[in-house]
Symmetry: C2
Subunit: 409 residues, 2 copies
């Protein structure tokens, strides 16, 4: 028997919670552990409370809503996402995964469906990382990727520590975060990119997350006056910058899955009539295949070596500052997503997540996968962020299928 979620109820709740921290442009601002974030959680807990799900909190502010199963001791199926937003957040990033999870629980209730395993709906604290760094904090601490003591010292721009905000909301009285044994974790999310829309597909079957490597490159020449010094006598780092951009662009053509970004370029001193003495720039390389990402890394390192030899007057240095390995989601869960999508006659395509998600932390501990739905123009972290009601409902139904399948396994 196939159940179906209530798309209207889900949509109405997405719009209702968006009123908390609503911005003039139609988005929401509920940064982690702020008053609007707490108000959003309170509304969500009101909805949950009406159904009698058992609430558990932890010391980082993660929330777990438990719908009991026939086997009380069985490890639960985890579903969920986050309710915090960027300062210029939209109405779907994170919120969709949480409210679709609630919709799944209620649909099971409404249809009087019992499951073998308990189901726990998770709300992870501070996924966005815009107010307190690092991002994916609540899931990171719960999964042992981050240290509780370290993150408590994080400060926002106003100087407030995370520990102060945790205490202000009373989470400091809760037990320390830890992830109990779980059957699996499943997260529904908007794509935050343009691939599904461009391909005209409703569901993204997420096979994993890109590996990410960050680099800082410095190109040091000699600062001189733009007038007196002939081109041939300059030690101008800008022509080398040009070649580094070309190198990074070439690496970006490795294959269709490669992503290469130069997000920051700083010239020093940065005056119109001064040949800059120094260029500082960043490079972000991503690929879903660690071996290919390794090759991209080598190509960058070797390319910089070649440039260094060609420009002996310029001091060219690059170093990797961060490395997040490729995430591979659970093959069994991915197959179950494909089965659901086929069964419901939805269009779909495999996809690799370019953005980071709480599911990346969970994947280190339990079988995990994600389900993506399209977002208009690929725009996210922006008030214009939008997902069509039919896509939202389709994604929630796939989440329902997956949850039901796994909670009876």
């Amino acid at each position: 028997m196939r159940y179906g979620i209530d798309g209207d109820r889900l949509w109405a709740r997405l719009m209702a919670i968006a009123q908390i921290g609503a911005t003039p442009e139609g988005g929401s601002c509920r940064q982690a552990l702020s008053d609007p974030d707490e108000a959003g959680r309170a509304l969500f807990l009101d909805w949950c409370g009406a159904r009698g799900y058992q609430l558990r909190k932890d010391r980082i502010g993660n929330l777990f809503l438990r719908r009991a199963g026939r086997e009380a001791e069985a490890s639960p199926v985890l579903i969920g996402s986050h309710l915090d937003t960027q300062p210029t957040g939209g109405r779907f990033d994170g919120v969709l995964g949480v409210l679709a999870g609630l919709e799944v629980l209620e649909t099971l209730d409404d249809n009087a469906v019992e499951t073998d395993r308990p189901i726990e709906l998770c709300v992870w604290t501070n996924e966005e990382g815009c107010r307190f760094q690092p991002a994916m904090m609540g899931s990171g601490v719960a999964c042992g990727v981050l240290e509780m003591e370290t993150v408590l010292a994080a400060r926002d721009h106003a100087g407030t520590t995370l520990a102060e905000e945790i205490a202000r909301h009373g989470y400091d009285q809760e037990p320390g975060p830890s992830l109990a044994e779980a059957a699996c974790y499943i997260e529904l999310h908007i794509e935050q990119g343009p691939i599904l829309e461009a391909a005209g597909k409703t569901i993204g079957v997420v096979t994993g997350g890109q590996g990410i490597r960050w680099y800082e490159i410095s190109i040091i020449g000699e600062e001189t006056h733009a007038g007196p010094v002939p081109m041939a006598l300059r030690k101008d780092p800008v022509p080398v910058l040009m070649h580094v951009i070309g190198l990074v662009q070439a690496i970006g053509r490795t294959d269709e899955a490669a992503r290469c970004t130069i997000g920051r370029i700083d010239l020093s001193p940065g005056a119109i009539n001064v040949v800059p003495g120094q260029v500082a720039m960043t490079v972000d390389l991503r690929h879903p295949d660690e071996a290919v990402l390794d090759a991209m890394h080598r190509r960058l390192v070797e390319g910089l070596d070649v440039l260094r030899q060609r420009h002996p007057d310029i001091d060219l240095q690059g170093r990797m500052t961060w490395h997040s390995p490729v995430v591979t989601f659970d093959r069994g869960l991915i197959e179950t997503v494909r089965a659901s999508v086929r069964d419901r006659g939805l269009t779909f395509t495999d996809i690799v997540s370019g953005a980071g998600h709480d599911a990346f932390n969970l994947a280190r501990r339990v079988p995990t996968t994600m389900i993506f739905v399209p977002c208009r123009d690929g725009i996210s972290h922006n008030p214009r962020e939008y997902a069509a009601p039919s896509d939202v409902a389709a994604g929630a139904n796939v989440l329902l299928d997956l949850t039901l399948a796994r909670s009876n396994m």
Copy 2:
């Protein structure tokens, strides 16, 4: 009969005045109209007062020290430069031209030489333009290039107006700046570039100043997340930036006299994991031949047009924000410099000034030229700025020859 300046006296004074506003690294900081600038002028006026030269000031703070001639009504020969420095100034930029001018007057005194024309030693206010913009201010107002009322409203970083500083030092009681009829203007200066040193020459016979054109270029794409969006679907302005750098580099190879500088590149928002939505950059083009500079300008405009057509997804805009025409110095004065240099057996080469100087303003009103001496490694606006005592003396002797020749013409 050939006279010679006192190189030791000149050097001792250069070192003495450098103690006013001395910086730990061995340079001087006497920004225009600051207390150190006034203290430097006071020391200079002490030296002049001992000789009885007639002092005149004007409302922008320019100083004129007059050594009388046999013909009291004859238009004077003007020599000089400026005493203000950059915040990271050296001991020679500007100061050399003023103190060498004083050395010329004193040498004539010491040898009891009378001249037909009076000689006026000029100290121009705020040549550097680092505290109050624009640069070359005192000479600009005196020559009618700048408006007195406009520059009085200029503010420094602390919010102080030029008018307030002018009043604080009592210059507001002086007559308005104006350049009376003059026979000519001659300025000795360090090169502020590496050409003389590289060529192994003592004297630069300055034939004029480069024309300068400034541009602001904006390259607008679409800001996106560095992860989810495939390279082919991005509107990344950085590859276009690469082509603009290449275009400017190519224009820089027009001929040996061309100068092309990209001094500022700003990426917005400038985060490591965000494809920038916008690049803002500057271009500085210079050439001593206005026709060639025109051609360089056209090549930039046409090159941007080609790039615009090749990248229809990117909004590429460029506009010229400032234009300073080519300056051509007086042929007769240049010949007199060459005669002096040959007569003294000094090595020399013709040179075009890449930096701006008060002489550029004077050249609009009276026959003008400049004399350059080498500075070590071409470094200026820096505590490491250095000119050898023998070169300093050689330059001052050429200034003496030129002044003497013109004050008896």
